[in-house]
Symmetry: C2
Amino acid sequence: MEKIEILGLIAAALTTSSFIPQVYKAWKFKSTKDISLTMYMVFIIGTVLWLIYGIAINSLSVMVANTITTVFALFIIIAKIKYK
Amino acid sequence: MEKIEILGLIAAALTTSSFIPQVYKAWKFKSTKDISLTMYMVFIIGTVLWLIYGIAINSLSVMVANTITTVFALFIIIAKIKYK
């Protein structure tokens, strides 16, 4: 693996895992009033397109990051709808 | 510009602009209780690394997206600290 791909994977690990505390917080406290549903609806369409882009440019980092981030964003959207 | 770069830029436009409603909501209602500070602290380190990665792989979409997203994330962090 190229060195730059390692940097990309670290970046991917950070932006992806960053959503974990938000998912945890939303589900634990069952409170999502301050979270913008519009943000996550637009965001998730974006991450799906990023995934397609990542496949097209053959960037492992972009692919992995956006697959997992899409799942986390989905969990936040579900929490937002459930605990609005 | 290659067609795939256009898809990348649309993806970038979506994931980037998605933060606008969250920035607006946080600053308008001065309420950020449900927003995870940890998320945005980890996230912003990630977007800075993504920016470096984007420069390295010469991906305009990755560069533009992560520059602007870093700024929006910063606005959310400031709101979170200001209105905690």
